[in-house]
């Protein structure tokens, strides 16, 4: 049983939902940027999100990256507030440049009454 301070990156972080400080869902953890591997002090520097990031996720990842529009976003690790089933961030999605796909799609929907 891992303590609150200890977690497994693949199981506990990778592919988990990102939630901003207002409770808005804004992507999944598509990969993690790891630094310091060569100098013996490895740590997670940032969370990586977005279709181009999927290229590192196997054959289906490359396929999905090919057919999906969108850019990659780098969220520095300091932006993470807490981790439970999801990864909660300190700031809003807009400030972190996440969830832009929804922002772009909104204009297709908001003209309809009742939206």
């Amino acid at each position: 049983m891992s303590s609150a301070q200890e977690l497994d990156l693949g199981l506990g972080l990778l592919d988990h939902q990102l939630v901003d400080c207002e409770g808005r869902r804004c992507g999944n953890v598509d990969d993690l940027e790891v630094v310091g591997v060569r100098d013996g002090q490895p740590r997670v520097a940032a969370i990586l999100v977005g279709p181009p990031v999927w290229k590192g996720r196997g054959w289906f990842g490359r396929l999905a990256a090919f057919i999906t529009p969108g850019g990659a976003v780098r969220v520095p690790w300091e932006e993470v507030e807490r981790i439970d089933g999801a990864v909660h961030l300190r700031r809003t999605a807009r400030e972190l440049r996440l969830g832009r796909g929804d922002d772009r799609a909104r204009k297709w929907v908001e003209w309809i009454p009742g939206s």
Binding site: D15, R24, D30, G61, G85, G101, D102, A105
Partner: protein, 408 residues
């Protein structure tokens, strides 16, 4: 007192919402082909869906995460993406069949042309989804589906040999074609345990903001609601067995299904049957449509949910609109809804392990579930039905091919 009322309403909605077009088609065809022999399979299917929907309701209430999230997290991006594509193909087929079923029921009720009713039906579904709050959608279509209880009354009025009916509840050898028997068993299980229902239910639990305090309600709803819903499936099979088997009728049309209520109960039986089919299949269409949108949104991490309002979850909203439109195109080609249903059910059976394995994994994960992790009973049952699912998933397509979809 309010609590009991609330539970009762939830159960009623679960009963009426249990039957979808796959159940209609397979239970009636199984009855017409094999009589009462496969009643026990319906019981197995109902038990299995009770075990798994309780589990995924618990996972969603405790972790606030729906089931499809777990597929990508536990099985990885590649498997998750494959599961997404497969489930969307099946969702589209299922939705097209359900839209066709709605149009057929409307045609029999109104006499208006089928093609026009497809458009009207889809438009009506879209408007209902857009305008109605989430809980009310389930209630409206659940209560309307209760009209299918007419089949229970009808089955009794047909005076089947109840001794014969009773033997159908014990699995036994069959004198008829064993492959056809196996095909229908697989189809019945697939119709009872549809993946879209599981995805929809778990997302719905999160939509409605359930917490661990609601777990007792969750369990009661699942057990009583699905058990009673299962009696509708049993009634469909029994009426078909009593009515169609002796005559050698092969029910190829939705209208024939409704005969199962008209013959014993006359015009009122027919009307109630058609209204019941309309609401049950219409409700299932909405569930399927949402399930598809939930899956794609959850896989990519988008905002999702009816309670977020369309402008709060734009890509999710566009997803269900596009899915509904594609289903419209498919069914407008004139393809037979009953045929599409058969394919949809069999293909969804193949995808069942991908759906249920992650549920079992996550329900055992303490990081997700805390103290609400699976106990020994839940795990024993879960593993047992998983084995059933695996056997069924592997044999589904070979059986479909070998028996020419049950024609023998």
């Amino acid at each position: 007192m309010r609590k009991i009322f609330q539970i009762a309403l939830g159960i009623l909605a679960a009963i009426g919402g249990f039957v979808d077009i796959g159940d209609l088609v397979f239970n009636v065809e199984a009855g017409a082909t094999l009589g009462y022999q496969l009643l026990w399979v319906v019981v197995v299917g109902v038990n299995s869906i009770i075990v798994y929907s309780e589990m995924c309701g618990r996972v969603a209430a405790v972790s606030k995460r729906p089931v499809f999230d777990a597929i990508r997290e536990r099985l990885g991006f590649g498997v998750g993406f494959g599961a997404l594509v497969a489930s969307q193909i099946v969702n589209l087929m299922t939705l097209a069949a359900e839209v066709g079923g709605v149009a057929l029921a409307l045609e029999l009720l109104s006499g208006l042309p089928y093609r026009v009713l497809i458009l009207l039906g889809v438009a009506a579904l879209a408007v209902v989804i857009w305008v109605t709050p989430f809980e009310w959608i389930e209630r409206i279509f659940g209560y309307g589906g209760l009209a299918l209880l007419v089949f229970v009354v009808g089955a009794i009025k047909l005076h089947p040999d109840w001794g014969d009916v009773a033997t159908g509840f014990a699995p036994h050898g069959t004198s008829s074609d064993k492959l056809v028997y196996a095909y229908f068993a697989v189809g019945l299980l697939g119709a009872a345990m549809t993946p879209y229902e599981v995805y929809f239910y778990s997302s719905g639990v999160v939509e409605e903001g359930w917490t661990p305090k609601d777990l007792g309600l969750n369990r009661t709803n699942a057990i009583i609601g699905y058990s009673l819903g299962g009696t509708l499936s049993l009634a469909l099979m029994i009426s078909a067995a009593a009515l169609f088997l002796p005559l050698g009728v092969e029910p190829q049309f939705i209208g024939t299904v409704a005969l199962g209520a008209q013959v014993p109960l006359g015009t009122i039986g027919l009307l109630l049957a058609l209204v019941g089919i309309l609401f049950a299949v219409g409700g299932a269409a909405i569930d399927t449509c949402f399930s598809g949108a939930y899956n794609v949104a959850q896989f990519f991490g988008w905002e999702w949910g009816k309670e977020r309002r369309p402008s709060g979850a734009p890509r999710f909203t566009l997803a269900w609109i596009v899915l509904l439109f594609l289903a419209l195109l498919v069914i407008m080609t004139g393809v037979d809804p009953v045929l599409v249903t058969e394919y949809a059910v069999i293909f969804s059976v193949v995808a069942l392990p991908l759906t249920y394995i992650p549920i079992l994994l996550v329900a055992n994960d303490r990081a997700y579930m805390g103290q609400y992790v699976n106990g020994r009973v839940a795990n024993a049952l879960g593993l047992f039905y998983l084995v059933v699912i695996l056997i069924v998933a592997v044999t589904a397509i070979p059986l479909m091919i070998l028996t020419h979809q049950g024609q023998g």
